[in-house]
Symmetry: C2
């Protein structure tokens, strides 16, 4: 039996991580849980996000995963430590891999971060960046309009572009001594809007896609644990979703360019609240 990599997100955002894991580790089997019924997590209280995340982790453990990816910046920001303490497998969050990539890329030492309100408020990126390199300067901007757009599959409309433009304006026009040269997409939903974000920020700002970086860190952790899949067979992935499976499937198929099936999961009873 091949133990899968379990991935969870508040909705379709983690699909950007799943896609990169499938690309960078094509022999690994994935089981994905998107909590679209309760998306977005960004405006919720930390205690609630921790409760939802732990519930999904317990659900995913049934699949006997060898590694768990919290493919949601909001959940990583507030629940990573608790999840790590409660399971015996390695847990990879999306914040440290993005922080590490930004530290590697930046020349100016000024790094931008965009994320949900909860992620920005938690200062998890500031902490992760400064733990690595105390002299970095970090400029953060919450972008609460992005996740709802992405969950609706709306990445390219004039309204989406307008929302991106307006949300990034404070960051772009930030008066500053040294120029920001990296912008961390601190939410796994944001790569869906990457083209629009890139055209607003211009070519002087490199976008750090935490999905790519998380896939790479997953590869490194599995390697150092001696747990990379050895099979040469093409794995069959498993997608689960608490919300509308058709919407999820449409977005996931477009992004993955693959014909996937989605299993609906209905939260029941008192655990739902």
């Amino acid at each position: 039996m091949q133990h899968p990599i379990a991935i969870l997100d508040s909705g379709v955002g983690g699909i950007t991580v799943a896609k990169e894991i499938i690309r960078q580790l094509p022999q690994e089997k994935i089981v994905y849980f998107g909590d679209s019924a309760r998306s977005p997590y960004g405006p919720r209280k930390p205690e609630e996000i921790v409760r939802f995340t732990m519930q999904i982790v317990r659900y995913l453990l049934r699949f006997q995963p060898k590694l768990l990816v919290i493919a949601c910046n909001t959940a990583t920001a507030v629940a990573l430590d608790q999840v790590r303490a409660s399971v015996s497998i390695p847990v990879v969050g999306v914040i440290c891999p993005g922080a590490r990539a930004a530290v590697k890329k930046t020349k100016s030492g000024v790094i931008g971060v965009i994320g949900t309100e909860c992620t920005v408020r938690s200062q998890a990126y500031d902490q992760a960046l400064k733990d690595l390199s105390p002299k970095l300067e970090v400029l953060s901007q919450p972008c609460p309009r992005f996740v709802p757009l992405v969950e609706q599959g709306d990445f390219h409309s004039p309204q989406a572009k307008q929302a991106v433009w307006e949300s990034l304006a404070p960051l772009k026009h930030h008066a500053h001594g040294k120029p920001m040269d990296c912008l961390i997409l601190g939410c796994t939903h944001y790569p869906f809007l990457q083209d629009a974000i890139s055209s607003v920020m211009g070519s002087g700002v490199e976008l750090i896609n935490s999905a790519e970086e998380t896939a790479r860190e997953t590869s490194a952790v599995l390697h150092h644990q001696g747990q990379l899949a050895k099979t040469r067979e093409r794995p069959v992935h498993h997608f689960l979703c608490s919300g509308n499976p058709a919407t999820f499937q449409g977005i996931a198929r477009e992004w993955l360019n693959e014909d996937i099936q989605v299993t609906p999961v209905v939260w029941q009873g008192p655990k739902y609240v």
Copy 2:
């Protein structure tokens, strides 16, 4: 007491890794051993490289390192498994980080690798790349003239450029269906020649600097072990060299842009052979 990160190389090549570790993890203390007296390792027999590497590892363990970086592709290719089996701390080699970065970057699926004769003959990169993603195509080219140039501090002369041009010609003119879009600098000495290599290969080929990638993997491994340095004091690094300390110091100072001191180490007795 702050436990250092120990780094070893056949000579000055690992300085490219040390520089990136200092940049990406400025709070970490480094102890570096360059075996310049016995450089280059590339043309040597694997048994001899394993013996030399194990000797340096034993020497470095006196400094009670928390992690060991084999910052030499040749030594990683032939001695990594044996080093890992003989020490109780994490050991990071330079091959897998570079392979992982290339897998992340490539779009065409065709990856070039340049390294010493021993590294190329070992097929360690082919193996690491195909373990991650079996369908990749790998084109390898040994460049035995590069390490002696770098050990002499000769990076910019017309002779150096000529050697780079001639060494890369077979790779550049390789008739191929799909174009190579990444070239792994599969030797830690090669970033010293990066400008020349880049101008020969052209803008369509992204160079993967295994030094940068190894520093990043070191950061990830320390993070997952809970062993990143917490101090905010500037650490004092320690450089040791078995060859001419003045030559080593000149090259290291130029590359690190820092005034370092080098302690000479003389191999004595039967262990030297």
